[in-house]
Amino acid sequence: MSTTTVVRPSIWSRLPLVRQLAQSVGWQRGMLVAGLVIIVVFLLTAALAPILAPYRFDQLRDANGTFGAQLPPGGAHLLGTTVGGYDVLSRVIWGAQTAVLVIVVAVILSIFAGVLLGLVSGYFGGWLDRVLVVICDAIYAFPSLLLAIVMSIVLSGGKSSLSFGILAAAISITVVFIPQYFRVIRSETVRIKAEAFVESAKVIGASNARVMFRHVLRNSTRTLPLILTLNASEAILTLAGLGFLGFGIEPTSAAEWGFDLNKSISDVAAGIWWTSIFPGTAIVLVVLGITLVGESLNDLADPRLRTRHRAIASSATPTEVDELEEAL
């Protein structure tokens, strides 16, 4: 009887972000909404790049001949052309696609590797755990950009080729992130391992794998969305940093904002502003959007930082809801 009286939240309100949106008030909601809008625009730009962009990212000429280098904004080239003779607007739009690809690949790879290592390390403990912790701590203390540079030298021999460039960049970034997921999941695993329900599962005779994935993993992923947003913005900055140092992706294989900024260093001294401002602003906007969402989620998850409703709208606090779900 008591279980039937529990109002289970509808599917809609249990979708990620929806609860947070409902929970937020005032400018905290403003920050969250602004961030979400930027992210949606960014994703749409990436998806619709072939339609939105007037030219290909590697296009140097059209029916009227070559574009010409360093043309100021206006006319056929709304945002001008680069020193290499590419259309700035097209490269900024196509750059969104590269950025999304790299973020997705980097985050998925690092979640898989980091979560798996953290789970195994925390669950079994022992010398493997100690070795992994020391290694991850060492990597964590290392300047991430340098590590990414070393990785991309290794992966591509210092040069990038076609689609391998995107993959190489993503893997270089992955290595930097693995320790973060590892740490979080490991400490949660160590905590949950001691809970009674894990012991019960073991007593029933569940295999290690079943306990790990069914009982421990499902309860240790609370903080993942937060790290995920942090990492997504860091992935963009690292990718841009790699590109700026000349490790990104060749202009003929994909458009990359950091690479374009590198090519614009000499333009700036000559007063040519359009080759740097547009790709740079694109980076800032995307990182801003992702970080706004991440910060808002962080605030909403922490009752000390949450701006309160005047009247409590939702009857159950998030942790209560989680516990209920667990009990059901």
Binding site: L146, I153, G241, G246, G258, N262, S264, L288, L292
Partner: protein, 366 residues
């Protein structure tokens, strides 16, 4: 015997906080803490050196990488043999470990210079840049963070937080290019790049033992024009790199001050009628500093990464600038040397920061 029973009694269920306090309180002399912390550097550095070595050797020998197309296969084989790169990898590995332990980071292939000499020549420049950046970060980040905590949840707090995120979201090189565009190209009031103008650089070279930290050298010339020249060159790179860190400081100070503002002793002070501004400045700020100092340690890694980008943007000839030069020259011995060196610097800085944190707050000690 007494101590043994005391220890065995300690882990009673539910008494975990007390146990923690005890284990932290018991052996915790500062000297012992520093010693343990110092010993802990060794595995960190060892792992980093090994990792970089293994990774860099996965792409083959450095001589082929650097000189591949330019020498005949025979000459190449001779060079590889002379440098010992044809020996088994584990012999090279232990040899390298031994060299690093004695402070020898190898010799570059492209211009045949010892890495330790590169450190002495260009390390000062990077140090100087990081110093300027930290000053900017402190001046901008800490007061604004306190202000945001004081005005929390009001509109200036929201504005300040968006600024903090903007500082963080702007890549240092883009911030650098923007500053350059505005102040050097459009307003023409600050130099475009470099660490000093040619005349000043010549003056500094004439000194007996140049430290290569230009600010110190400029003061030693006793010429105010040199000092002014060095400082005007430092302004834009310092701000570009400093604002990145300032955003992080702002967020940290805000979070920690808000955290301490909720503590009982602050409530007690508030109930005695202490004003809110004074609470932030006198009561909540200092305890909030300890986690900030610890985080600064982690920021050093970010700062060095940022320095590589800033130096490239402003042609600031430091370790990061040289690193990129050597990467482009495919001189991987030099790259390996500089990367390992920077890793050692980060490990040592973290050690120093931890010791400072322990000096301020006895609870940090083991």
């Amino acid at each position: 015997m007494m101590t043994a029973t005391a220890v065995s009694n300690a882990p009673s269920p539910g008494a975990e906080p007390a146990q923690k306090a005890r284990s932290k309180g018991s052996g915790g002399t500062l000297g012992r803490y520093i010693l343990i912390r110092l010993i802990l550097i060794i595995p960190t550095v060892f792992i980093l050196v090994s990792m970089v070595f293994i990774l860099m050797h996965m792409i083959g020998d450095p001589i082929t990488a650097a000189l591949g197309g330019r020498l005949t296969p025979d000459q190449l084989a001779d060079r590889i043999h002379a440098a010992g790169y044809d020996r088994p990898i584990w012999i090279q590995y232990f040899e390298y470990l031994g060299q690093v332990a004695t402070g020898n980071f190898g010799t570059t292939i492209s211009d045949n210079r010892p890495i330790s000499e590169i450190l002495l020549t260009y390390g000062g420049a990077t140090l100087e840049l990081a110093f300027y950046a930290l000053i900017v970060a402190f001046i901008v980040g800490i007061p604004l963070g306190m202000l945001a905590a004081y005005l929390r949840d009001k509109w200036p707090d929201a504005v300040l937080r968006v600024f903090a995120i903007l500082f963080y979201a702007t890549p240092v090189f883009f911030a650098g290019l923007l500053l350059k565009l505005i102040f050097s190209v459009w307003l023409k009031i600050l130099p475009v790049n470099g660490r000093a103008s040619v005349g000043t650089e010549l003056n500094l070279q004439l000194l007996d033992h140049p430290t290569n930290i230009y600010l110190i050298d400029a003061f030693r010339t006793g010429n105010p024009a040199d000092v002014a020249d060095v400082l005007t060159h430092a302004l834009l790179p310092g701000i570009a790199l400093g604002l990145l860190t300032a955003g992080i400081f702002l967020r940290l100070v805000r979070l920690n001050v808000i955290g301490t503002l909720g503590q009982d002793y602050v409530d007690a002070a508030r109930s005695r009628g202490v004003g809110e501004l004074r609470l932030v400045r006198k009561h909540a700020y200092k305890p909030a500093l300890v986690p900030i100092i610890t985080v600064i340690g982690l920021q050093i890694a970010l700062l060095l990464g940022g320095a590589v980008l800033t130096e490239t943007t402003f042609e600031w000839k430091g370790l990061g600038f040289m690193l990129v030069q050597y990467i482009n020259a495919r001189d991987f011995v030099a790259v390996q040397g500089i990367v390992v060196l920077l890793a050692v610097i980060v490990a040592v800085t973290n050690f120093i920061v931890d010791v400072i944190a322990a000096l301020i707050d006895p609870r940090v000690r083991y």
